[in-house]
């Protein structure tokens, strides 16, 4: 990272974020999947196509796989990568709790103390919450995952 960058900018572009941006985890669309969604950020043109594969139903439902393809800025790409690490292998109930914690962090305008035990690498996005124009970037993949997962769960009823 450039030595001359200011404090504030460094607080957004954490090294963890840049690492996920350069080497995204779980990227690429995979089979099998239960549902696929496409989300866009209308103000900037960022897009993500995301698939989820669940196993089991109700409270036992588990996230087996999340795969995605899209284009967007480093924040949106890194956030999607971190999200897949956090939700794959968890029960849907637990994964939704992580998603809510992340949403809370992003809506905190830099004021929240992120819980590293819950959010792990996603705590790196705390600085992004100080940049209102970029919050939607960080949330794009998470909201797509939530939407897809909700659709599958609703379909099971």
């Amino acid at each position: 990272m450039g030595a001359n960058a200011g404090m504030k900018l460094d607080s957004m572009y954490q090294e963890i974020i840049l690492d996920h941006y350069r080497n995204p985890h779980h990227k690429g669309l995979r089979d099998p999947f239960d549902t696929e969604v496409h989300h866009v950020n209308p103000t900037c043109g960022d897009e993500v196509t995301l698939r989820v594969k669940l196993d089991g139903t109700g409270a036992d439902a588990k996230v087996v796989d999340v795969s995605y393809e899209g284009h967007g800025c480093s924040i949106s790409q890194a956030s999607a990568s971190v999200m897949t690490d956090l939700v794959i292998g968890r029960t849907v109930v637990d994964a939704l709790k992580v998603q809510e914690e992340f949403l809370h962090l992003m809506q905190s305008k830099g004021q929240a103390e992120p819980d590293e035990d819950v959010l792990e690498d996603a705590v790196a996005f705390a600085g992004v919450s100080k940049f209102p124009a970029r919050v939607k970037c960080a949330l794009l993949g998470w909201m797509a995952w939530r939407d897809a997962t909700t659709q599958v769960m609703e379909g099971q009823k």
Partner: protein, 419 residues
């Protein structure tokens, strides 16, 4: 570094009129404002005119016989005179004040939605636009077509960012009722050959609407020379406040076509069952208009006239040529749009390696450099050139070669940051 390019204005003097341009950001970095295609900064002369209006003359217009009401009306209508002269309109009654260009374009589309013959748009008729329009010159026409059953057609783009008019006779036909086209693209910078389009459209009896949002602030605009039927532009891109725009239309058309918004000011007489309407332009100005904003637009026009629009155009042309050369020297940078200053405005969009424009813009911001990133309300252009978004630098009369140099240096910093 100092630069002497032929045609440059005395920006040292001009910049003193714009208080915001002396701001520093992020621990003392001077503001480099390169987002002029989104909105321009405002000179003291415009800000003073706004203040003076509110401090000394504020009243509602066209009603009341007291001194303030008469002064406010004279100032508001005086601004209309200034606009009419600025665009060489044959009559001041052809100048309709709107909120912005979007409202002006929506106004035309809505006049036509409700128009009788010979202007009626319906099944079997075509509306023609282009692939390089701002969303404000796409969506109103989509709505018109959905509401009337007309068909929307458009001109495509060439690889080098120009309109593809090779099939003009197939696109504009006897079925075409209206052609709406941008004068200067806000994303590509392209200045379009309107002559050919106007000639073909009028040959088949179609109306021509020109979106001059990126032209009125930057080049001499002569609506008589354009020979279009309607011309839309907005004040805030030409040193005036937000909230004031202009629709110029041929007087005969403004008299014939129906009003859109109803309310105070636009009527002649009202009974409980029906109304008759005021003559143009007031027929299209329902409700209390943006009075102070119109006064501010008048002051902006005075400011631009004092410099001379031909000189503004020459300054921006020289600066654009310099910027294109400088940007081409940046490794990995690809200009989206014409890569020469010929028939081109002062907005330059580009791709920078694989970096997303959001990231480019954010790191430039940290250096005090304000550019626009995104699809610039012209998403079809991004789709056409296979990019999700672009970074756009756009200049105005106060922009300098030094700011172009700052942008180039800033981009090198961006490369290092993500490298």
């Amino acid at each position: 570094m100092t630069h002497t390019l032929p045609g440059l204005l005395d920006t040292d003097a001009i910049r003193k009129d714009f208080p915001v341009l002396s701001r520093t950001l992020h621990d003392g970095k001077p503001l480099v404002y390169l987002d002029n295609a989104a909105t321009s900064q405002k000179p003291k002369q415009v800000l003073d005119a706004l203040n003076r209006y509110y401090e000394m003359h504020n009243a509602n217009v066209h009603r009341g016989v007291h001194v303030l009401a008469e002064e406010a009306t004279a100032l508001y209508e005086g601004a209309r005179d200034k606009v009419a002269e600025f665009i060489n309109a044959p009559s001041r009654d052809e100048v309709v004040f709107t909120k912005n260009s979007s409202e002006a374009l929506n106004l035309v589309a809505n006049m036509l939605t409700w128009a009788d013959e010979p202007f009626r748009v319906g099944p079997g008729s075509d509306v023609v636009i282009t692939e390089m329009e701002h969303h404000s010159n796409i969506v109103p026409w989509q709505l018109l077509c959905q509401r009337t059953g007309a068909k929307l057609k458009w001109f495509g783009l060439t690889d080098d960012g120009r309109l593809d008019l090779s099939n003009i006779e197939q696109v504009i036909t006897e079925e075409t009722k209206v052609v709406s086209v941008v004068h200067t693209s806000n994303i590509l910078g392209t200045v379009n050959p309107l002559d050919a389009i106007v000639r073909r459209a009028h040959d088949v009896g179609a109306l021509v609407v020109v979106d001059a949002s990126q032209a009125a602030p930057h080049v001499p605009l002569d609506v008589q020379a354009l020979e279009a039927d309607f011309v839309a532009f907005t004040g805030h891109k030409m040193l005036a406040p937000t909230g004031i725009g202009v629709l110029w239309g041929r007087l005969g058309l403004l008299e014939e076509l129906p009003p859109f918004l109803g309310g105070g000011e636009m009527i002649e007489t009202v009974t409980m069952s029906a109304s008759t309407y005021a003559p143009a332009p007031h027929k299209f100005e329902a409700g209390t208009p943006p009075i102070a904003q119109a006064v501010g637009l008048g002051a902006a026009i005075d400011y631009l006239n004092a410099i001379g629009m031909d000189k503004v155009a020459a300054h921006e042309h020289a600066l654009t040529a310099y910027a294109i050369d400088a940007l081409k020297s940046v490794e990995g940078l690809e200009i989206i749009g014409p890569d020469t200053a010929l028939d081109r405005g002062a907005a330059i969009s580009f791709k920078f390696g694989d970096l997303h424009p959001h990231d480019v813009g954010q790191v430039l911001d940290e250096q005090g450099i304000a550019v626009r990133v995104g699809h610039h309300c012209a998403r079809p252009v991004c789709l056409r050139y296979g990019v999700p978004a672009t970074t756009r630098a756009s200049f105005y009369l106060y922009s300098t070669p030094g700011e172009v140099d700052a942008l180039v240096a800033g981009l090198e910093h961006v490369r290092g940051f993500f490298g």
